[in-house]
């Protein structure tokens, strides 16, 4: 078996004239948590479906857990778990009955089921809640049960599709702590999302747009390497006129509203705290400029926004 959990080489999928996935290559090591960030239609789901052996690539190849996705798809499926944003739970069944049901579907041997079910309920922190009806549980608890279900057959590779959308931030943190525990034990986790809140938790993050993988690195490295220049917060008296003024300044890449202040990316070497301050003051604004850390949204806009360098 290959040393890598996932190995993708120039993978391409075309539907008629439409190229959904365009020659992407990447590798994932066992125990990594890798995210895929991109809008709907950017090719995230098509990629995952090819990796699961559900769609035939038009060109290129991919190996998952050492198996070729085209020729050995049957060998891959029992080894992967999948949790979607819209997970299906049976509201009328208890938490434990839901888990039992899916353990059966995934073919967990009868003799192992009880122990296995107990282990995943422990792992996701649902101990003692087995008898509660699933329909009565709130979002955070249902999502933990969905994760338990995705894990009950001990998958080596876990696909998560927007797993924590809509749950509260505390529940989201607990969820990711569990994911990190799984990864520390050697499971590989692949997350697709279009939310920055979720993407921040990944060890490495791929930025997808228009079927292409624009970058793949740690969130820290993406923030360091992909922006055209530094980022600033501007606390200013009249927000909207200041936003317009700033957008028309040379050397300003992008400006956005951040509630009670503005957030700007400038081109490298074009502006300092002082030049931004004096330019705006010169136009009659009262302003305070702070240097700030870039966000993943800045990264995405820099790589895929309408001012990003053209792909072709």
């Amino acid at each position: 078996m290959s040393e890598l959990a996932v190995q993708v080489d120039r993978l391409t999928k075309r539907f008629g004239d439409f190229t959904a996935v365009d020659g992407i290559s990447f590798e994932v090591r066992p125990g990594e948590v890798v995210g895929y960030l991109g809008p709907n239609g950017s090719g995230k789901t098509t990629t995952i479906r090819m990796l699961l052996g559900l769609l035939r690539p038009t060109a290129g190849r991919a190996e998952v857990l050492g198996f070729d996705v085209e020729r050995q798809a049957e060998a891959i499926r029992p080894l992967v778990g999948y949790m979607s944003q819209k997970f299906a739970l049976y509201d009328e069944l208890t938490m434990a009955e839901n888990l039992e049901f899916y353990a059966g579907i995934y073919g967990v041997p009868k003799g192992e089921r009880r122990g296995r079910q107990q282990a995943v309920m422990d792992l996701v922190g649902l101990n003692g809640l087995g008898d509660a009806r699933a329909g009565q549980m709130s979002g955070g608890w249902r999502q933990r049960l969905a994760l338990a279900i995705a894990l009950v057959h001990r998958p080596q590779l876990l696909f998560l599709d927007e797993p924590t959308s809509g749950v509260d931030p505390v529940a989201r943190r607990i969820f990711w702590n569990t994911i990190d525990k799984l990864a520390d034990d050697g499971a590989t986790v692949f997350v697709s999302t279009h939310y920055m809140d979720e993407a921040e938790y990944c060890g490495r993050l791929g930025i997808m747009n228009g079927g292409r993988l624009l970058a793949l690195d740690t969130p820290a490295a993406l923030k360091r390497d992909t922006l055209p220049g530094p980022t600033w917060n501007l606390i200013v008296d009249r927000l909207i006129p200041a936003l317009d003024a700033l957008e028309s300044l040379p050397g300003v890449f992008q400006v956005g509203l951040r509630g009670d202040h503005l957030h700007a990316i400038t081109l490298a070497g074009e502006h300092s705290q002082h030049t931004l301050q004096s330019s705006l003051e010169g136009m009659g604004f009262s302003v305070e400029v702070e240097s700030t850390d870039p966000t993943l949204e800045d990264v995405f806009m820099a790589l895929a926004g309408d001012k990003a360098p053209s792909l072709d």
Binding site: V33, N40, S42, G166, V167, V170, R204, R258, G259
Partner: protein, 321 residues
């Protein structure tokens, strides 16, 4: 006069208190963000504000008009974009606008000019004859916004407007909202996402039907300034354990290869003001415990940090009561 003054909103469904004494005020030019997880009561608040649900207690005034006593006048100033906004997929873009215009009682002649203006505003000029059903997600959402604006409301209620939308489309959508705010409109936005919340001028963090805390983003972030540290260390699991046990550390979270630590308020203010002393002490404590510290620095707190700190403090209070 405030655009919206909602005081003490309360709504019960049987024994469940879905909305519990919620108050919010929106002035012209303000975007109020109602932030919270699914089930917190955000959509119920929206429905109370638009009069689609009746209040068990409290009052809503829109431009000074009481919603219960003068529903017609109050509602005429409100535009509402629900979470699942239904466009007619077998009607064209122009026909959808005309339909929502006629529902709002706008005469044909006025509507023709306004439709052109609204389509230009949302960037759909030239798509008048396209069927709504074949528009992309982002375009549907812009058409939804145009329909919600057809009667020129001063107050716009947006229920999770950019759920399922990519960052670029979201940015475009907010540019439109910014223009409306610049013209003196007010907006209430509900969202579970912090990257959306950060765009609002005032935030109310909601959980279990109540607003836990409210304020401008920067004033909510201020108490955490200097208290969130980013730690890069090996082995990470040991570093996590040691930090969790440290008396100055209130919370530890793992972000990929990094740990985020939240210091207790007193830890910063007992030491040097910027928390430098605590950082140094923590660094040597970790080293003494067998952890190699590769980097430790203060980072800007996020709204998520604020929300988590608020939820934890609320849970703590509840335990003390």
């Amino acid at each position: 006069m405030a655009l919206l003054e909602a005081i003490g909103l309360t709504k019960r469904f049987g024994s469940l208190v879905a909305v519990d004494d919620v108050s919010l005020v929106v002035q012209p030019g303000e975007a109020y963000g109602l932030v919270g997880p699914d089930g917190a009561g955000k959509t119920t608040v929206m429905r109370l504000l638009v009069g689609a649900l009746s209040l068990d207690a409290g009052s809503v005034a829109i431009l000074g008009q009481d919603l219960a006593r003068h529903p017609e006048q109050a509602r005429s100033s409100v535009g509402y974009l629900p979470q699942r906004f239904s466009l007619y997929h077998d009607l064209t873009v122009g026909e959808n606008l005309a339909f929502f215009g006629s529902v709002r009682g706008i005469d044909r002649k006025t509507l023709t000019g306004r439709a052109a203006e609204l389509l230009a505003f949302v960037g759909l000029t030239g798509f008048e004859n396209r069927l709504a059903g074949v528009l992309s997600g982002g375009m549907k959402q812009k058409l939804g916004l145009a329909c919600a604006l057809v009667h020129r409301p001063s107050l716009l209620l947006l229920d999770e407007p950019t759920s399922g939308v990519d960052p670029i489309t979201r940015q475009d959508f907010w540019q439109l909202i910014i223009r409306l705010l610049g013209d003196g409109a007010g907006v209430v936005v509900s969202t579970p996402y912090m990257d959306e919340a950060i765009r609002c001028s005032i935030l109310g963090f909601m959980a279990a039907g109540r607003i836990l805390t409210t304020g401008a983003p920067r004033s909510l972030l201020a108490p955490l300034a200097g208290r969130v540290l980013e730690l890069r260390a090996e082995p990470r699991a040991l570093a996590h354990q040691l930090c969790q046990a440290d008396p100055d550390v209130e919370d530890v979270a793992q972000f990929g290869e990094l740990l985020h630590l939240r210091l207790r308020g007193a830890a910063v203010f007992s030491g040097l003001q910027d928390g430098q002393a605590t950082q140094l002490r923590l660094s040597s404590a970790l080293a003494a415990g067998g952890v190699q510290v590769l980097g430790l620095r203060a980072i800007a707190p996020s709204l998520e940090d604020v929300f988590i700190a608020t939820l934890q403090a609320t849970a703590l209070e509840a335990r003390h009561e």
